[in-house]
Amino acid sequence: MHRKQLLALVAMAVFLMLLAACAQQAGTPQVVRETVVVTQEIEKVVTQVVEVTKEVERVVEVTPVAGRCAPTDPDEVDKILIGATGPLSAPGSVVGGLVMQWSLNIAVKHINEAGGVLGKPVDLIFYDTEGLPERGTAVAERLITQDCVVGIVGEYHSAVGLTMMEVAHKYRVPVVFAETWNDKITGSQYDEIFRIAPTSSMVAEADANYIQDLGAEFVVIVAENSDYGVPASEATKERLAQRGIDSEIFLAEIGTQDWSPIIARIQALDRTPDVVLTLVTGEASYNFEQQAAEAGLMPTEETVCIANQVAINSEEFWQNVPDGNYCVFRKVGLVPALANDVTRKFEAEYRQQFNRFPESYALEAYDSLLIMADAINRAGSLDPDAIIDALEETDMIGAQGRYYFPYGRKNPVPPDEPEWMWHQWPDPAVLFLQYFEKGQSADEAAVVWPEKYQTHGTFLIPYGTTP
Amino acid sequence: MELEVRDVHLHFGGIRALNGVSFSVRGPELIGLIGPNGAGKTTLTNVISGVYKPSQGAVYLNGERISGLPPYQIARRGVGRTFQVTRAFRRMTVLENMLVPAMALHPAGRRQEFVDRAHEILRFLTMDHLALEYARSLSGGQQKLLELGRLLMLDPDLIILDEPFAGVHPKLRETIWEFITTVHQQGKAFIIISHDMETIFTLSQRLLVLNFGQLIADGPPEQVKDDPAVIEAYLGKEE
């Protein structure tokens, strides 16, 4: 008897809940809007009665979703909370997330040493996104509705950035993305979204230009089957084709260890590639580069090795790719010649703490927080609109140079520019460097492209020679 | 009830486990199946109950060929068996153990009727007070009784018992003995495998003797007792 009663009870509860779910669904938009007004009113009545009407008007006009809990008045808080994300566990790129977290902590230290933001100390809340898009949604939600952050910075994976930006847009929270390359992120033209990393298109353009300057006719692109590798390899292939250069793409899973069958296939092609471009990150890129070197695929006199940008971490590179001498690698962000005081200060601190070379995403993460702090200072308020306005007017020197966002609400993207130029820093430099001596550090590597920054007067130090 | 085993052979790779066994059971007979170790007794049981499919030959139940049918079908057609090692469903209660065959046999039956019947049988086996215990907490002998109880719930016409007396307390042996004779009187046929010569010779009405996969004797106990082939099988050929 008991069992049946229990089952009946459960069945009734289920039915009622489904009913509730459906009923909720129909009436939702109005309900939400009202809730916002009410909560805002109550908050404001307690603090500042005069503000009420103005506040309510704004809310009705923009209709963000209820739940955002960051205060808008800096006097209410004793510290400025800023959220940050990055991958700290698999399947995310753990190295990327870790480095970003370190760099952001240095940024917090530097900002607070310089007096904080609006006279208050900055506090950073960093969450692991695991490289999973659904985590991006959850974590952004938590930062915005739980921890009450006024802005978000960082993130490494584009797939995560793409879901995070929807949440930020929903709640109207400004975001400065540090290292997500997907065009669509600024291409969304959301008010809240800013980016200081290059877009995939910008990087592909640079790759194609460099390869063209090398005079290559046939290129093999080895890419990881991921949100980074697939679009990047396709964009590069397309741009190479525009320049009359043939290319073939080889895809592999993230984290691949044994590349010998793919290397055998590349070497069995009827043409020897002039360039092998590695669009694979992490340990898999090292595995590929070393195994390709051992098999005599690249670097050789005939074939230029373009290693992945992670090669910039020279210590790790030489440990993992001992035979990778003469490999070229892309460096995004900062032209060494243009290093400024901010760069040097950050780099010194970073090297001292972690005994590592700061990768581009370290600088980017550091700068993303500086930019956010700078904008809040200039806005003089924690109101998202004020911060977004201030971000659009950014003009400051960070570790990677002068930051500004040419296009935004006041100055829309002109039709002849790609739409991803919205809130996009246009100047991330893309350089190519080349190791020419075993064990060389990234600082000692030759800059081979673009021409104006060349340190050795050539696009390529030929294999086996010393400049 | 009529069971006919017709020229059954069974090979495992090169080993001939059964080699042309034929016999039949007509009506509620009480049959003992004996033979030295490795003679093929358990294998024969497994063939009848459908665990193995004979390589050659067939088994018929009431004129219908049952060899080749899956074990559960044979069980539902009225052949019940126990195993050499007790195989109660250890992490189910005694009552649940009893319900399994009943519910498998009568998909549309009412649970309460089965529960009543199970209690009745458990009373008969003097273990009704254990109905809600887990089978694993029973003693070895009680588990054996439980297996017999399960068989009654299945209500088969032919019951095959594999070593029912092995390693059993003398008092329990009596209970099992009584169970067999009572159930036999109710009109069920039995095939009992046992190493216990004294018991099996007293208990059964007819004896089957297997040796090296062949049936070497089939008849009343007193006749089999003096069969030279049987004596030779047990004592070995004197050179």
């Binding site: 069992r3 229990l6 089952l7 459960v10 069945a11 509860a13 289920v14 809940m17 489904l18 509730a20 779910a21 909720q24 669904q25 939702t28 939400v32 739940g67 809990c69 700290l88 566990s89 698999a90 399947p91 969450y127 692991d128 999973l132 659904e134 949604t137 959850a138 939600e141 509705t145 739980q146 797939a159 089957n225 991921s226 697939v230 899973e253 | 109950s49 665990v51 899956p70 074990p71 559960y72 019940g80 068996r81 195993f83 195989r87 109660a88 469903f89 189910m92 649940e96 153990n97 319900l99 399994v100 065959p101 519910m103 498998a104 046999l105 998909p107 009704d128 007070h129 809600l132 399960r150």
Partner: protein
Amino acid sequence: MKRVDWRWVLTGGALVLALSAPLLLSGYPYWLHVAIVAYFYAILASSWSLLAGYAGQFSFAHMAFMAIGAYGSGLMGKYWGTTPLTGIVLSTLLAGLVGLVIGVLCLRLKGAYLALFTIAFSEVLRLTLNAELDITGGPNGLDLAPLLNTTSRVPYYYLMLALLLASLGFMYWLAGSRFGLFFRSIREDEEAAAAMGVHIVRYKVAAFVITAMIAGLAGGVEAHYIGLITPNILILGQMSIVIAMAVIGGIESLIGAAIGAILIQFSLELLRELGNWRLVAFGLLLMLTLRFARNGLIYPLIERLVLYQARRAVIEGREQKAKQVGEGA
């Protein structure tokens, strides 16, 4: 004197708490989200415990069935333009169909062989979803249309809670019926069950089909709620989390597994700051639970709190019966 029946009090209390959670958490949409995901894992863990704990089929393909539900619905929406609801219904059936095939293939496999086979199935599915990026979107994942036309979490919360209760109710009914009886008899001793007339093939396959459909249904709803599904959900680590939830909750208890899943999901979220150390602790907890608390950590509590009276009644009944027997003799 009539005792307070703790079973009703606790069940009622839990239901009231679950029903009023959106009100309690109205200022915390993030925790509402965590609750939705926790219910999703609770459905997976409890249906896995039906398959593994009740029917004894230690399959590692449960997340694969979930993914079939999710990807099935997403792909049908993408290529045939089905609505999410139709997609979920059809992909639930699809998961059941695949469950049928896997169930039939796994009939003869036991223990480690079954585990290895299902791991292989799940890995091949993951590789395929990754490799066929033109169809599935590969590692970028597949976008899914929202199931409900709303920006609020509350309807989703009730939907997932309803799904959890419905599936728990259904599984309890099943476990109490002949299905449960036969599942357990097969788990205990397949051959003996067959000798008792149990159609083992039918019930083994049924266990796979039913649990695959529950997992597929949960996967479909969850994917439409999140709006995106990636093949990463199929990595072995994800499956091990579901298993750990069921084991820590109590692998032979549906409600234990569900409560275990909810508690673990919340604690993993609460301890997020600890990074990987929380997973280290989680792995250790899993091993220790297996070694020293075979019934899990949650189920014994439930048993103690909720089943206390039931057992009491049983003991009293038994004493009475013993007395009768004594008098009879």
